[in-house]
Structures are given as C-alpha cells and as structure tokens.
C-alpha cells in the first residue's frame, strides 16, 4: 500500500499546499473585507445599508458551486474578460466568505450591549476609540465560535474549487485516483488529510476562544 502511495506524496503535498493557500486567502480576505461590509449592514442610511444587505443575502443564499460556474462561465459573456480557474476560485471564495463573515461580525456588534456604547460615550471616547477599545474586542470574543465555524466551512469549501479543475488537494487526488485506478487508497488518504486538518483547525480555534474569554474576564 505504501509502495503505491509513495511516488504520489509530492503531488499530494503540492495539492495540499494549494488548499492551504486558498484557505489563507479566504481567511485574510474575508476577515478584512467583512468588516466594512458589516459596518455598512448596520448603517442608519438606507443607501449604504441596502447594497450591503443585498450582497450578503445573495451570496449566503445561493450555492458556492453555482457562484463558481456563474463567475467562470457566465460573467465573461457580460464583461468580455476571462479569468483562469485559479483566479475565479480565489475571487469566489473571498467574495462568499466575506458575505458570511460580515454577517458574523454584525451579529457580534449587535450582541455588545447598548450600555457599553453609552458608557464609552460618557467617558468622552471618540467614535474610533469607541469601536477600537470597547466594541470590537468584546464583539470578537463573543463571535469567536461563529468565526471558527466559518473558517472550518471555508476549509471544506476549498475542495469545491476542484469542480473548475483547480489543482488543489481534491482535484489532485481525483487525477491520481483515475491514473492509478486505486480510488480507495487515494480518496481515503485525502479524506484523512482533510479531516485531520479540519479537526486541528477546530481544536486550535477552540483553544484560542478559551484564552480570549479568560483574558476578557481577567
């Protein structure tokens, strides 16, 4: 069994690295871009709020696979501009995860009690300080479980990019499996890699959550 596996370890490792790259891209992209979108979601002005709500609801309520197909095959007909599968995959992943993360942030901001805003106001903190020192740290601690769930979903979602033949772990596994005609070995190995990574990620995030809570209550 190991003799069959050994020659393909470098290829699998390369696929896994690309999976990790997409995971990192999605994490950083969505955590950064999700913030302005979340602020727009809570804006008192309807002109600012409506596009943000439409964006978040549309991407959260349609399947990623359909979004991928649409961005890759349909959008070029409108713009006349083609993207490679790898580019489409990265763009789609960042966009959809931004929508999920924005909703997570918004829930977090809403969960910070009104009194906290008012107390910060009474202390004479300006709006920037109010968000940076009072609201965001508390919201972050309270939303850690939801952020964790979103990141685990992101890791699983990277496997969907295989549908556009992006050579990440899932796609690499399919190709090796077809080539060697040994699906049981290769799909099982890939499944174990995904499950191991997912469990490690969930465990790590849980630890971080416990630490954040301890720090908050000190």
């Amino acid at each position: 069994m190991f003799d069959t596996l050994a020659p393909y370890i470098p290829a699998l490792a390369q696929g896994f690295l690309l999976t990790l790259f997409y995971f990192a891209l999605g994490t950083v992209g969505s955590m950064v871009l999700g913030l302005p979108v979340a602020l727009a979601l809570g804006s008192p002005s309807a002109i600012v709020r409506f596009p943000a709500v439409a964006f978040v609801e549309f991407f959260r309520n349609t399947p990623l696979l359909v979004q991928l197909f649409w961005l890759h095959f349909a959008l070029p007909a409108l713009t006349g501009f083609n993207t490679t599968a790898q580019q489409t995959g990265g763009i789609a992943l960042v966009i959809v995860m931004t929508a999920y993360m924005a909703e997570v942030y918004r829930t977090g901001f809403n969960s910070v009690a009104r009194g906290q805003h008012e107390a910060a106001l009474a202390l004479g903190l300006n709006p920037r300080q109010r968000w940076r020192l009072v609201v965001i740290p508390q919201a972050l601690a309270m939303t850690m479980p939801a952020i964790g769930n979103t990141l685990v979903s992101l890791l699983k979602a990277t496997a969907i990019l295989s549908i556009l033949a992006v050579p990440e772990l899932m796609r690499t596994t399919s190709r090796i499996s077809d080539y060697t005609a040994d699906p049981i070995l290769f799909y099982s190995v890939a499944a174990l890699i995904y499950i191991g990574t997912g469990l490690a990620l969930a465990g790590g995030l849980h630890r971080l959550e416990v630490r954040l809570n301890r720090w908050r209550h000190r």
Binding site: E57, F58, R60, N61, T62, P63, L64, L65, V66, Q67, F69, W70, F73, A74, A77, L78, V152, L155, K156, A157, T158, A159, I160, S162, I163, M170, T173, S174, S177, P183, I184, Y187, S188, A190, A191, Y194, I195, T197, G198, L199, L201, A202
Partner: protein
C-alpha cells in the same frame, strides 16, 4: 444581451434537474434526521463509551468536506460493497452521513436546552421514562431545534449541487450542461442562481423569525 428565449427552451430540462435536486435533498434530509436523532440522544448517554463514540462521529463529520465524502462514496463504496450503486445513491449516502453529524449536534443542543426541572418534575410524578422522553422532553426540544434545523436544510439544499462533481443531473449540473452545449452559459446559470435564491432566501428568513420569536430559547 440576456436572451430569455434560451431560459424558456431550457425550462423542461431545468425542471427535471430541479426534481432530482428535491429528491436528493429529501432523501438526505430523512437519512440525516434519523441518524442525527439517534446519535444526538446517544451522545448524552451516561455510558462513557457510547457518548464518546457519538461525539467522535459528530466531530469527524463536521470536519469532513462534503466534496471528498461524495467522491469517496462514489468511487469506493461500489468496490467495498461489491454492488452497483448509482451516483445519486452514493451522493445521498454521503450527504446523509455528514448531515447526521450536524443533526446530532442540533438534537443534542435541543435536549440540553430543555430545563432540567422538567425532567425532575416528570420523574417525581412517576411518569415512565419513555413517556417522559416522548411527551415531555421531545416536544420542547424540537421547538428549540427548529431554527437550526431550517438552517441545516438550507445548507443541505446548497450542498446537493456538489453532486454535479460525480455527474448527477441535479439542477446546477443541468444548467451547466445546457450552457456548454450552446456556449450560452449566461442565461441558464443566471436562471439557476435566481432559482436557488428564491428557494433558500425565504427559508433563511423563516429561520431568523423562529429564532427571534423565542423558539430558540
């Protein structure tokens, strides 16, 4: 630029695809609910070995990408079982198993959310255990689970599109094939995106309403 005629001519094929999507969703949902109810209850068992195995299954399924589960089932199950299984069957099994883990967590949370006093009060009235489970705990737990179940259902509906990867003719794959036959992807793919939004968005709103109306508390 957007040719409605193409959507209209693709309509019968898309409808056929939608039927497959509904069938897969329903079958996987039933499987996930049965499996999840049992596992959720077992995860609360006082017997350590039982509750630990249930929790183990729950964690593993939550970390498994649907895509690898579907491919694993499609390529490995027929060999392991020595049986001829269709893509649809394998897809339903994969989504149902993973959904079982999700539902187990929901069921577990629902049961834990029922006040302990309910159980103690029922015991002190000398109501038999099975009756307590089905007439006292379950009705209250189900009410608390409802928003999460609706959310899971929308996730499942989205996940059925992944069966396109193993060539099952659900609606997203049909739309893609339709586009590739004519090189007009815009119309069928836009149609299918709107269709999914119209199916899923009302369910999301419903889940939020249920949550706000206190069913989650």
């Amino acid at each position: 630029m957007f040719d409605y005629q193409i959507v209209i001519s693709a309509f019968p094929a898309l409808l056929q695809g939608l039927l497959t999507t509904v069938l897969v969703t329903a079958a996987a949902f039933v499987l996930a609910t049965c499996l999840g109810s049992v596992l959720g209850a077992v995860s609360l068992s006082p017997r350590r070995a039982l509750s630990r195995s249930a929790m183990g299954f729950l964690h593993v399924t939550r970390a498994t990408p649907e895509m690898i589960a579907i491919f694993w089932a499609y390529y490995c199950l027929p060999i392991l079982l020595g049986a001829n299984l269709s893509g649809l069957t394998c897809g339903v099994l994969a989504l149902g198993l993973i959904g079982g883990g999700y539902m187990a967590e929901i069921v577990r949370g629902g049961i834990l959310a029922v006040d302990r006093g309910q159980w103690e009060a029922a015991r002190s009235l000398a109501i038999p255990r099975p009756v307590i489970w089905f007439r006292v705990i379950a009705p209250q737990a189900v009410k608390k689970m409802l928003p999460a179940v609706v959310n899971y259902f929308t996730d499942l509906l989205k996940a059925t599109t992944l069966l396109a990867g193993i060539g099952v003719g659900e609606v997203a794959y049909v739309a893609y094939l339709n586009g590739s036959a004519s090189f007009r992807y815009l119309e069928p793919l836009t149609g299918v995106a709107i269709l999914f939004f119209l199916l899923i968005f009302p369910l999301s709103v419903m889940a939020r309403r249920l949550n706000a109306s206190g069913s989650g508390h």
